[in-house]
């Protein structure tokens, strides 16, 4: 195996966190059970990686195998990338083409390779008739840079393709072109978009506008992805007593009251996120609660200004 390829293997495997190592290697299915058993996974990570690279050399791993491993790693870490979505539209008058995955893959590869001499294209099939395409870009004189590939995820039964941000933005039109010959007009399957329409038309939501506003505000504040797992938040209050009622024993008191409020939950931030949609609290929530991820702390001291 040449040095650059070995180095690429080493760096790709080194990226994988130890907690995911076995799962990813098994998904990759390039090294056999027996081979994996010969590796001592209790060593330091660098030594484990070295052993694994040696095994890859024994199996005469190719660039293609490395690309597959890279795709699998990215599939596990898809949330770490930023994705753009493209929708393909059919020109009026075109016939419906029957889609064949293998034909798509081979012609996609050919188109790219014809245009750019130096490009590495790899495919991996995934759930729901989708295919992950990894493209490493080179130039006319330089070999493809394996460390900055672009990814395209194409769901073949839909007109949508997702691309991860590619450093070489000039290659986008080329990608678009290779899709032009393969667009699909079959209607979207509801399952793949995760639609949650209330199918029963006998139930009418009077406050639909308000519900949508709450969803929007919640999404703006908390985002779409799962929240970081937090188990409690603690607020120490040293504020003067405030009351709507006139008078009362505590209203005249000058010293601040000391009070500790603790919120605990198996998954506090998800619980806070679901408060407004569930109707238990108004949206937007108090910034004291929503600032936790931004400020990166869950102990607060609140004093009068």
């Amino acid at each position: 195996m040449d040095e650059t390829l070995a180095e690429f293997f080493r760096r790709t495997i080194l990226k994988i966190p130890m907690t995911e190592m076995m799962t990813i290697l098994k998904t990759w299915n390039f090294l056999s059970e027996n081979q994996l058993q010969t590796v001592n996974f209790r060593q330091r990570k660098e030594s484990i990686v070295q052993d694994l690279v040696l095994l890859c050399e024994e199996n005469r791993a190719s660039l293609n195998d490395a690309a597959h491993l890279d795709i699998i790693y990215t599939q596990f870490h898809r949330h770490q990338k930023i994705w753009d979505v493209f929708q393909m539209s059919k020109a009026p008058g075109d016939d419906i083409d029957l889609f064949d995955m293998e034909q798509f893959k081979s012609s996609f590869k050919k188109i790219l390779q014809r245009a750019l001499k130096n490009v590495t294209v790899s495919f991996r099939d995934a759930e729901e008739n989708s295919v992950w395409i990894r493209i490493a870009w080179g130039t006319q004189y330089k070999k493809p840079n394996q460390y900055k590939p672009a990814y395209v995820v194409y769901y073949s039964q839909t007109p949508y393709a997702f691309t991860s941000s590619s450093r070489l933005k000039s290659n986008l039109p080329l990608l678009g072109q290779s899709f032009e010959t393969h667009n699909c007009t079959t209607s979207l399957q509801e399952g793949s978009l995760g639609l949650n329409i209330n199918m029963d038309s006998r139930i009418i939501h009077e406050n639909k506008v308000e519900k949508e506003r709450v969803q929007r505000v919640t999404q703006e504040i908390f985002g779409d992805y799962p929240q970081p797992r937090l188990e409690f938040a603690q607020y120490k209050l040293e504020t003067k007593f405030k009351s709507d009622l006139n008078g009362g024993i505590l209203a005249e008191r000058e010293e601040p009251l000391r009070c500790l409020v603790k919120f605990s939950s198996p998954h506090l931030l998800e619980a806070l996120k679901s408060l407004a949609p569930a109707g238990i609290a108004d949206a937007p929530l108090s910034p004291l609660l929503t600032c936790i991820p931004n400020k990166g702390k869950n102990y607060f001291k609140i004093r009068d200004k």
């Binding site: 209330n198 029963d200 006998r202 139930i203 009418i204 939501h205 009077e206 406050n207 506008v209 308000e210 519900k211 949609p277 569930a278 109707g279 238990i280 609290a281």
Partner: protein
């Protein structure tokens, strides 16, 4: 701002419409689903609202029965119901309003005392029902009961009107209300 009136629209043919008002959308949705699964000869329609007044923009049929759902675990739900009651025409309280309190089964979670809702229902001269909506069997039974109530309020049961029903229910369910 439209206050809801019970008789300002013509009824639909064999149609009965119920309006469920409550802050916790998930509970209302589940109750609505259970009601639609219940046996019923009339065409049912269920409207769900967080509070009154309702937005003007929706084109809605005549409302035959309004059920205010209070979650005993949530002070906000009671407060929202109390505020909504101001926006209801007095004529509705002649048998076309009911209160439903949920959550009484988990006493440690209740932040509203049972008597608070009893007093509220008494003030508005309307029946109060208790049901833990989170438990499927109880919810199904309550849904069947509400469907029957709704049919009477819509005039689909010959010989019984909403007002008749109100006096019947008052007599058997709340004997000690006068003592409160």
């Amino acid at each position: 701002m439209s206050a809801l009136r019970p008789l300002d629209k013509l009824p639909g043919l064999n149609t009965a419409t119920i309006l469920l008002v409550g802050t916790e959308d998930a509970l209302l949705q589940q109750l609505a689903d259970s009601m639609l699964k219940a046996d019923c000869t009339s065409e049912l329609k269920v409207h769900l609202a967080r509070s009154l007044p309702l937005p003007c923009s929706v084109n809605r049929p005549r409302i035959d029965l309004i059920v205010f759902v209070v979650n005993l675990h949530s002070k906000l739900s009671l407060q929202s119901v109390e505020e909504s009651l101001c926006h209801l025409d007095a004529a509705f309280f002649l048998g076309k309003v009911a209160f439903l309190a949920t959550g009484a089964g988990r006493d440690s979670h209740c932040s509203i005392h049972r008597n608070t809702v009893v007093k509220l229902a008494h003030t508005y001269r309307s029946p109060l029902l208790f049901c833990d909506l989170e438990i499927e069997d109880f919810r199904a039974a309550m849904a069947q009961r509400l469907v029957r109530l709704l049919q009477i309020c819509a005039g689909h049961v010959p010989g019984v009107s909403a007002l008749n029903l109100l006096s019947l229910m008052r007599g058997s369910e709340n004997p000690s209300l006068e003592d409160l």
